[in-house]
């Protein structure tokens, strides 16, 4: 904060299956006075596939955006997507070595200095805005909503790279949801992996792993799951029907982005937060909440 402007990297999924994550991120940031300046003509960071091919290629794909942000005079890249964050951090780590930095620059059109830092939007909200400032902006507390906080694998791991929260028992989403007035139960699977990017090549693995997460959420009586990763959202929400047919279950658990829940509590409508774009409709929960608010 302190009037900081951040280089905003939305990531490819914000243009497709996670469009509501991008929309809610921007609206909430604006409401919080966090200035997000979109990186000009950003390109894909390479995500998981690039680092299975070569570390240098993966570094260069991410570095193109970092270098553009540096050219724009911004000191911190901020992204809502944990996979994009990891790609950026890996590029910065690779560039610590002079020889590798030289190699990266040989692949790029722009000079890359590797002086910028990279953080997730969640980290900015939790550490720089802070839960007290969030709580002050709440107009419609999330009363009566019992929400399972889900972090997935990458956001806080490994700790040396993440430099954020706790790798085994992260609490940032818990604290944010509490500040918004929600009831936040202990969620034993908060850092389990959802199946990551295997949706196309190994769908059964995704259905099995994501199924376990939904099952645990149901066991602890959660009304919904709140997360900060577009891939996790896609696996748990979009594929929930497939999970049900695969496992013979009938889960109907709405899956929210943390920014959507902040936005709801700040008084944005569910439509403004893109909740109508989810595969599993949260209507029942929203109705229950509206009634609770009238009490």
């Amino acid at each position: 904060m302190k009037g900081d402007r951040y280089a905003y990297f939305p990531g490819c999924s914000q243009k497709g299956t996670a469009v509501e994550y991008g929309i809610s991120s921007r609206k909430v940031a604006e409401a919080l006075g966090v200035e997000l300046v979109e990186i000009e003509d950003w390109s894909c960071c390479g995500a998981t596939p690039a680092h299975t091919v070569d570390r240098l290629l993966s570094g260069a794909l991410a570095a193109r955006n970092l270098a553009t942000a540096e050219k724009m005079g911004l000191a911190t890249l901020v992204t809502p997507c944990p996979a994009c964050l990891v790609a950026s951090k890996n590029a910065l780590e690779l560039a610590q070595d002079d020889e590798s930095l030289k190699e990266l620059n040989e692949l790029l059109d722009l000079p890359f200095k590797a002086e910028i830092q990279a953080k997730s939007l969640l980290q900015i909200i939790f550490e720089e805005v802070g839960v007290d400032a969030l709580a002050q902006k709440v107009k419609k507390p999330l009363k009566g909503m019992r929400l399972a906080p889900y972090y997935g694998c990458l956001l806080t791991r490994p700790p040396e790279r993440a430099q954020f929260d706790d790798p085994e028992n992260p609490i940032s989403i818990d604290r944010i949801l509490e500040a918004l007035g929600a009831e936040v139960p202990d969620f034993p699977f908060k850092t389990e992996c959802c199946g990551a990017a295997f949706g196309l090549p190994k769908r059964d693995m995704v259905l099995t792993l994501s199924g376990k997460i939904l099952d645990m959420a149901q066991q602890i009586g959660a009304d919904g799951i709140v997360l900060a990763c577009s891939l996790c959202q896609q696996n748990l929400d979009l594929r929930q029907g497939q999970i049900n047919s695969h496992l013979g279950t009938n889960f109907e658990i709405p899956i929210f982005y943390i920014t959507q829940m902040i936005g709801l509590a700040f008084g944005f409508s569910s439509k403004e937060m893109g909740l109508d774009r989810h595969a599993v409709h949260p209507d029942k929960l929203l109705k229950k909440w509206e009634e609770k608010l009238k009490e």
Binding site: K15, S43, P49, L108, R157, E192, F198
Partner: protein, 185 residues
């Protein structure tokens, strides 16, 4: 227990893995923590601590032809929990890169998914999700896989029929081309 023929220990392989991953593989004392926490262990043909052991004893073929190295999702749980501070996930990544180079990839589908993904980035500058899905499904001979997701995305502004190229698509293509040249591909 298997008995190891000393002649089968490929010392160059051990050295290559250590150099490329930047990890000291000999530090692993087989505590099994990595495997205990690995969410994909149920699908691995060789559990991750055994992969580490097989590297220590230089069993190149067995390691590089394993399915496990491709089924690893880079979730970083092993790295986080290794009491010897080995970046195990980084080792798995290195093994995938080596398996590609040596033509020993056992999971052709996963490899092709990665290739198609990067091809999409090279063409458009960003991943074009629908194009990636169609191309991948067609090539795998199951064009209608995931077809039921269409209605869940349609009308929600989540499906785009045509790719949109970024302005700097040339610069991204250049990254791939310079990279290929550098690696002599």
């Amino acid at each position: 227990m298997e008995i190891l023929d000393l002649a089968s220990i490929d010392r160059d392989f051990i050295k290559a893995v250590e150099e490329e991953s930047g990890q000291d593989i000999s530090l692993c004392y087989q505590c099994g923590n990595c495997t205990a926490g690995c969410p994909y262990a149920f699908a691995f043909d060789i559990p991750v601590h055994q992969i580490m052991r097989l590297i220590q004893v230089g069993q190149k073929e067995e390691v590089l032809r394993s399915h496990a190295i491709w089924l690893c999702a880079t979730c970083e749980t092993c790295t986080t929990r290794c009491p010897r501070n080995i970046d195990v996930a980084r080792v798995m990544d290195t093994l995938r890169i080596m398996a590609r180079r040596e033509g020993m990839v056992s999971e052709a589908g996963i490899r092709r998914f990665h290739d198609d993904f990067l091809d999409s980035v090279k063409r458009h500058g960003r991943v074009y999700e629908v194009g990636l899905l169609l191309k991948y499904n067609l090539q795998s001979g199951r064009p209608f896989a995931d077809a039921e997701l269409g209605p869940k995305l349609l009308g929600k502004g989540k499906l785009h029929y045509f790719p949109e190229n970024i302005k700097g698509v040339g610069a991204v293509k250049e990254i791939f081309e310079r990279f290929a040249k550098k690696r002599g591909l």
